[in-house]
Amino acid sequence: MSFLQILLQLAGGVGYTIMVTVACSLTGVVVGLGVAMLSRIGPPWLRGLLGAFTFIFRAVPVLVLLFIVFFGLPNAGLRVPPLVAMMLSLGVIAGAYLAEVFRGAFDSVDASEVLAAEAMGLSRFQILRLIEIPQMLRFAVPGMINEFTTVLKYSPFAYTVGIPDVMKEAMSLSATTLRGVEIYLAVGIIYFLIYKLLVTGVWALEKRTRIPGLTG
């Protein structure tokens, strides 16, 4: 079996790897946006609660949270499908990190523009939607790329809950062919290519929506 054949064999799992990465990244963006928005416009007690949320989910290892959700929750009568378990663990943790990224990016929005929007008669929610979020997201691009990369790199944990991603393919292939070194080398190259694709893709998107004078 040539190295190329190994690569082709493993490529079968790429779809799942990308699916897990995208699903968890989107979960992260939704959770992170929700947390950052609520702590920007919510009452102080809620801010404290959200601060505790981000601290806890940034302190617990992904693997531990994944096992809590996938293997632990059935003890409480709650059975969670593998992909959802990944989203509730890796995705929510990414959300806690992204909430911090978004919080910092929100702080880069000029306070005088927010005041001007208030003086115009826009509601708090309109200001958030029309002024703060569009600017904040642009400031947050580098931080988001970092976090999406991290999600990609933790995505192989999906094999532990039975998702047939690249890692899972590699493990079964390695068990039958006993050529672990080449196989895992190939896996490394595949992840690196996905990583490059991801980073290039996000920057291309950023470039298309770039506005003079507004970069992160």
Partner: protein, 274 residues
């Protein structure tokens, strides 16, 4: 006809008195300048009038309605008042045109085409139609100012508030601002302008009030206020501003004259020293 009436307005914050009983009226179509040193409470005064700040006492009647009472629709009030900020506060992620259409689209719920057409008219009024599709970062200070004014005018406000319109501009651009104020005054736009810029206060050509330490100490036509019988506080402010303008002079020889016209016999300096 009185458009805006301010009666004994007070604001205390953190034990400090910011506004100490300010009263004045603004008539329909009038341009009034509130002049005073920084920290005199003039920006806060403007913010009290559209409820961006909350006064602790007094009355504000705008278009016949009490503005400070309970049950006032703050957002509806603000839509009647165009506010031009010191640093322009253009939305950096929106083009000049989008800055102007934002309120039309999201507060008036106007269809895009209609909002664009109306915004372009306002930009044209400010001679900015050629720059409609540029972002704030691509505009000069004076151009940003014009867009900010067009943005405020687009909602057909009953009055326009200017907060230090010249402080972020070089002297040449300050003259432009005066021209714009004159243009709008000729169009019968009611305006309230807050500034510490002597040149602007003088050249604007409206009634001028002198605000210091939260109180109005003098009010009158420009020449009365700057004339020989001026209030001692006005004189003190005057001298201080002039000194600053003069010491700033050698550093940038290209812009000596405009800020306060220190040397010109017809300028405020001449009047003050007489």
């Amino acid at each position: 006809m009185t458009l805006l009436s301010v009666q004994d307005l007070k604001l205390e914050y953190d034990g400090r008195i910011i506004l100490d009983g300010v009263s004045f009226d603004l008539a329909q179509g009038e341009l009034k300048v509130i002049m005073g040193p920084s920290g005199s409470g003039k920006s806060t005064l403007l913010r009290c009038l559209n409820r961006l700040a909350t006064p602790t006492g007094g009355r504000v009647v705008f278009e016949g309605r009490d503005v400070l009472g309970p049950g006032v629709d703050e957002r509806a009030l603000r839509q009647r008042i165009g506010f031009v900020f010191q640093n322009f506060a253009l939305y950096r992620h929106l083009t000049a045109l989008q800055n102007v259409t934002l309120a039309l689209r999201h507060l008036r719920r106007m269809p895009a085409a209609e909002a664009d057409e109306r915004a372009l008219r306002q930009l044209a009024r400010m001679d900015m139609q050629a720059h409609a599709h540029k972002y704030p970062a691509q505009l000069s200070g004076g151009q940003k100012q014009r867009v900010a004014i067009a943005r405020a005018l687009a909602m057909d406000p009953a009055v326009l508030f200017f907060d230090e319109p010249t402080s972020a501009l070089d002297p040449l651009m300050s003259r432009e601002v005066v021209n714009i104020l004159h243009q709008l005054r000729d169009e019968r736009v009611s305006m309230l302008c807050v500034t510490h810029d002597l040149y602007l206060a003088r050249a604007a050509g409206g009634r001028v009030m002198f605000l210091d330490e939260g109180r109005i100490h003098a009010e009158g036509e420009v020449d009365e206020l700057f004339g020989p019988n001026a209030d001692p506080r006005v004189r003190a402010f005057f001298h201080q501003e002039l000194r600053q303008a003069q010491t700033a002079q050698p550093i940038d020889a290209a812009q000596p004259m405009d800020q306060a016209q220190p040397a010109g016999p017809s300028g405020p300096a001449g009047l003050a020293e007489r």
